[in-house]
């Protein structure tokens, strides 16, 4: 396996840039679809008949949070690479940063969820809070004692404050780190100063990341049923986020490689490591998902079991069983193969498959609540509580395509902005000559 030893003569001195005219068409289409889709979605959320806007609120939440997990994962891999002083991934680190840089944009798609008109269908606890007359706490004391006890965390000002912090905090982190990384690309005297600076700032900002993935999960998803709680929730969402952002990173790197980019600096060794991370997080996701299920199943506490009771009713049960085999057993056995992880093509197929399973996972996180909540909130409009709402599926597809197109647009835009790998990073040769 004697391969060419990469030296500084092989590194493009001014970086390896994507020819933006090649992706101009895809970007234009993605932006067009996202713009039209957003307009239609805003109409459906705010001006359509209540029956439609109610069920579409869940579609929007599902699509918003799905793509947010991918962006958050990009921030995670950037931070982890910096803080662990890693050398292996320097040649693919720019892709981590590009994926992470979509976070501020993806968070903007959460703005409709800040409006009471949308929240009324999603978060019942907010309805109770808003219906309060006089002192909210006093009102809750008499109307819903559970909400009275949870008031210190579940109150409107704190909720809005937190959500704004999640949006602004991690955005500043990833924008700052990406700027620092890009500034190195054109530095005539590139040294180690930025490397150490990035490492230092990644330490405490890793805490901001951890809070963001955990508590956006609490505030947007767990809040769908204020009676339900799970201490595994944050880590469960993190497992899916890290796994699937790595899947996106693999797809982007394999695509860039097929276009003739990342020459000399990435090879089978890099895909092997990224494949190992994909494998590791497949196992980690299963471990956490099972632990959550197991603890709830064993304890048998009424408030906790509701989550799985809903999802093990009717066709949701079939989907949950598909998740066990499709999200864990199948990729686990396939990804054990070493040769498969070293080949960008076969690894990309597995990465794409993992993303499809992530869609199913997040669909099962956000949507089964819809039929129950809407029936509870307004019996007159939405009818009886039902397992699923017929026809609401089309709204899910619309929201997914809309936010998905926007995600694709912002990702391609970020990829095309700067060099595809940090060409003047002190560790670029170490990374290029990786052997594992």
């Amino acid at each position: 396996m004697a391969h060419h030893h990469v030296t500084s003569a092989d590194i493009a001195i001014d970086g390896d840039h994507l020819d933006n005219s090649k992706v101009a068409k895809v970007k234009a289409i993605a932006m067009g679809v996202a713009a039209v889709g957003t307009l239609i979605s805003l109409y459906l959320l705010f001006f359509a008949p209540e029956k439609i806007s109610g069920s579409f609120a869940y579609s929007w939440l599902f699509a918003f949070y799905f793509f947010l997990t991918l962006s958050i994962g990009g921030c995670f891999w950037t931070l982890l690479h910096n803080v662990s002083n890693s050398g292996w991934g320097t040649s693919v680190r720019r892709t981590f940063e590009n994926l992470g840089s979509t976070y501020p944009w993806m968070f903007l798609f959460g703005i409709p969820l800040l409006c009471p008109e949308v929240q009324q269908y999603l978060y019942e606890w907010m309805n109770t809070h808003r219906a309060a007359t006089g002192d909210v706490k006093e009102y809750l004391h008499h109307h819903d004692h559970l909400l009275y006890n949870k008031y210190w965390f579940m109150n409107l000002p704190f909720w809005y404050g937190r959500v704004i912090f999640w949006g602004v905090g991690l955005s500043l982190v990833i924008i700052g780190l990406r700027k620092l990384s890009i500034a190195q690309d054109s530095d005539p005297n590139p040294g180690t100063a930025r490397l150490f600076k990035a490492r230092f700032h990644s330490t405490y900002t890793l805490i901001i990341f951890a809070l963001t993935i955990t508590f956006t999960g609490f505030d947007f998803m767990m809040g769908l049923d204020y009676k339900w709680f799970s201490t595994m929730w944050g880590v469960y969402l993190f497992a899916g986020s890290a796994l699937n952002s790595m899947a996106v990173i693999i797809l982007v790197c394999a695509w860039l490689k097929s276009q003739g980019h990342l020459k000399h600096v990435t090879g089978p060794e890099h895909f092997h490591i990224m494949g190992k991370l994909l494998f590791a997080f497949t196992v980690f996701w299963a471990y956490i998902a099972f632990s959550q299920y197991f603890l709830i199943w064993y304890a048998g506490i009424t408030e906790e079991t509701s989550y799985f009771l809903i999802r093990n009713t009717g066709n949701w049960n079939t989907a949950m069983i598909v998740l066990v085999f499709g999200h864990f057993v199948v990729p686990f056995v396939i990804l054990l193969q070493a040769w498969l992880k070293r080949n960008p093509k076969t690894l990309s197929i597995m990465a794409g498959y993992t993303l499809v399973m992530h869609v199913l996972d997040h669909y099962l996180i956000s949507v089964p609540e819809r039929g129950i909540s809407l029936g509870n909130i307004n019996h007159e409009v939405f009818g009886d509580i039902q397992v699923s709402i017929p026809g609401a599926f089309w709204g899910d597809i619309l929201a997914f395509v809309t936010i998905g197109s926007a995600f694709l647009f912002f990702l391609l835009r970020a990829i095309g902005q700067h060099s595809l790998y940090p060409n003047r990073d002190p560790r670029i040769l170490e990374s290029a000559n990786l052997s594992n």
Binding site: M1, A2, F290, Y293, F294, W297, Y298, G300, L336, A338, S435, N436
Partner: protein, 184 residues
């Protein structure tokens, strides 16, 4: 004059650095030798590729060892908890659908059996423990655990020849070339 004839183990040659060892290994691999090995004080990245080593069969042992663990645990838990003595807790049923309750045991035994297979499979494949090794007869070989980088080509290799192999080792940078004979 003693006439005991000692069995020849092979040639031992020293190389001056890890990279010299790496490059020499590539040349011996390309010369088609099979029964030979590198000795270095620390692991060298990519040396297995330079030596042309095939992937070990050990992962397959471990895979089936692990599966045995899973099956053992399932049989153990199912037969005791469902067939022989069903334990009813919180009115939960005891049948095949309560398999999640058995998962921790199945998981642990999978790990345990895999771990045992790794350890004992590895020891069997590298033929350890053993009391002695013919290379210990060499006076310089102890430096392989300190600062010496060695390659030994065994006499039982079909390509081995008393003169040509010695010349090959000298040609690719080997120093202190020594014909190692087994003691007794």
């Amino acid at each position: 004059m003693s006439t005991t004839r000692k069995r020849v183990y092979g040639y031992l040659a020293e190389f001056k650095s890890a990279s010299a060892l790496y490059k020499a290994a590539e040349k011996i691999r390309d010369a088609g030798f099979r029964k030979w090995d590198c000795y270095s004080p620390y692991p060298i990245h990519g040396l297995d590729g330079a030596m042309g080593l095939k992937r070990s069969i050990l992962p397959w042992f471990v895979f089936f060892g692990g599966m045995t663990g899973t099956a053992t645990a399932f049989t153990l838990a199912y037969s005791t908890q469902v067939v022989i003595y069903p334990t009813v807790v919180q009115a939960k049923p005891a049948n095949i659908f309560t398999i999640p309750a058995f998962f921790p045991v199945m998981f642990e035994l999978t790990i345990l059996f895999s771990g045992f297979t790794v350890l004992f499979g590895l020891l069997a494949l590298i033929q350890l423990p053993r009391l002695n090794h013919p290379l210990f007869a060499s006076k310089q070989f102890h430096r392989a655990t300190d600062d010496g980088f060695f390659i030994a080509i065994e006499a039982r290799d079909s390509k081995f020849s008393p003169n040509a192999t010695r010349e090959l080792l000298a040609e690719i940078g080997g120093a202190n070339i020594e014909l190692v004979e087994e003691e007794d």
